[in-house]
């Protein structure tokens, strides 16, 4: 999985803002503001990664245990799916 390239992350004075472009403006319904972890995941998913790889990255970056990393990542990915930000192979 990776993020849809029609979404651009803008960092403006400490805020992480996702701007949908192109066809994405239909589904996204405006800009989104991410927290630091969300922005980290968004940037990590500029390249193709599977769920386990992403969870490992988060454990290393934030020093959190496996179950916490899995649960938080899973929730956030679900949110990305809702807005069409995540691209996954069938």
């Amino acid at each position: 999985m990776r993020v849809n390239q029609n979404f651009v992350l803008r960092k403006i004075k400490g805020a992480n803002i996702i701007v949908p472009l192109g066809e994405a403006i239909k589904k996204a319904n405006g800009i989104m503001v991410l927290n630091e972890t969300g922005a980290y995941i968004f940037e990590a998913l500029q390249e193709e990664k599977d769920f386990e790889e992403l969870v490992s990255c988060i454990m290393v970056e934030y020093g959190v245990p496996l179950d916490v990393a899995k649960s938080d990542t899973s929730d956030f990915l679900e949110e990305l799916r809702t807005y069409g930000i995540l691209m996954e192979e069938e």
Partner: protein
């Protein structure tokens, strides 16, 4: 000391030129005037560079306007390059130049919002207001194309003597383009600024006609507007008392950074000093606002819609008395008094 300033909302006036000659246009300057003034519009590269710099400085929303931006031969190039930078793009157009090439670009890169100016419901009104009857057909064709995009569409009109009788038809026409289309009208037609060539005084409604038009049968709205005006959190008196120069800016067609499109002074030069520095030093160009003596004791001040930029437009001074707005305020007072006499003073309760 100013609160933290971030240039979040930008306006790029890509050109001063327009294919229409609307009698009330705030901005339009023709090619001869531009040359005779020794001025020039920015190049493709200059607009793209400025957008990159504005992005670095924190600009999120960017309005691309004119004149008519699609009149520029390099519109598609500028638009595409700027779009890729990740702005929330708003595009203003008269919709008469929506070529297949433009549509190809907009389909790939749809703006968030397109503001389309529509000034009449038939060719005869377009001839009177915009100097071209055929432009009406081109506008209709253009709007139909633009409404196929996923962008939100706002149809905007401005009412002058020549189209006031057509207002309801303009509204109906706008709504006929689609259920989701929003419709808005200018609150006031201002005198031109920055070498604009329109003779606004000759075409705009009188102040009294304008208030009648704006509030029409909805006199209650006037009292509500006043309530809104006096219940909003008191604005800070920094710069112009609004977001201009604090969170928003305009780059004029000739490349100057100003507070808003109404202004014609108090500017910096992002082309020579770079956007970031031009934004930083902008505050130094703006004189401190002061209470205007003749306004302090005005009995109609509750009804006054003047802001520093409107004062500037009307009088070429931030501190001038904009007679048009003074007459509007006096007339608003008069009709509200009439309203009170029929409805009682309860409309003042929350003021």
């Amino acid at each position: 000391m100013h609160e933290e300033r971030i240039p979040l909302n930008g306006t790029f006036e890509l050109t001063a030129r327009c294919n229409l000659k609307c009698k009330m246009c705030l901005v339009r300057v023709d090619e001869e005037t531009i040359s005779s003034l020794g001025l020039r519009e920015l190049t493709t590269k200059e607009w793209i560079d400025l957008a990159k710099q504005a992005r670095e400085s924190g600009t999120l929303q960017l309005l691309l306007t004119g004149g008519e931006p699609m009149l520029r031969k390099d519109f598609c190039k500028i638009y595409t390059e700027i779009y890729k930078m990740g702005f929330v793009i708003v595009l203003y157009t008269n919709a008469t130049l929506v070529s297949d090439k433009v549509m190809d670009v907009l389909e790939k890169c749809p703006p968030y919002q397109i503001g389309i100016s529509v000034y009449g419901s038939n060719p005869s009104i377009y001839e009177k207001v915009c100097g071209s009857g055929n432009a009406f057909y081109r506008m209709v064709d253009g709007v139909k194309k633009l409404t196929t995009l996923p962008s939100s569409i706002n149809i905007r009109t401005t009412i002058i003597k020549d189209n006031i009788g057509d207002y309801k038809n303009i509204y109906m026409l706008a709504k006929s383009f689609g259920e989701d289309i929003t419709f808005s009208r200018s609150r006031i037609v201002c005198r031109t600024t920055r070498h604009g060539i329109a003779d606004v005084d000759a075409c705009r409604l009188s102040p009294e006609e304008n208030i009648d038009f704006i509030y029409g049968a909805y006199l209650e709205r006037l009292s509500k507007d006043l309530i809104d005006k006096y219940t909003v959190e008191e604005k800070k008196s920094e710069l112009f008392g609004c977001d201009a120069g604090i969170q928003s800016f305009t780059i004029t067609w000739d490349g100057k950074l100003i507070g808003c499109q109404l202004l014609g002074e108090f500017m910096t030069d992002p082309l020579s000093e770079g956007f970031e520095k031009a934004w930083e030093t902008f505050v130094e160009t703006v004189p401190e606002l002061k209470q205007i003596d003749t306004c302090r004791d005005c009995k109609y001040k509750l009804f006054c819609m003047a802001c520093p930029a409107l004062r500037y437009c009307e009088t070429k001074s931030l501190f001038g008395n904009p007679k048009y707005l003074c007459r509007e305020a006096e007339y608003s007072h008069k009709i509200l008094e009439k309203l009170i006499s029929t409805k009682g003073s309860e409309i003042y309760e929350n003021v």
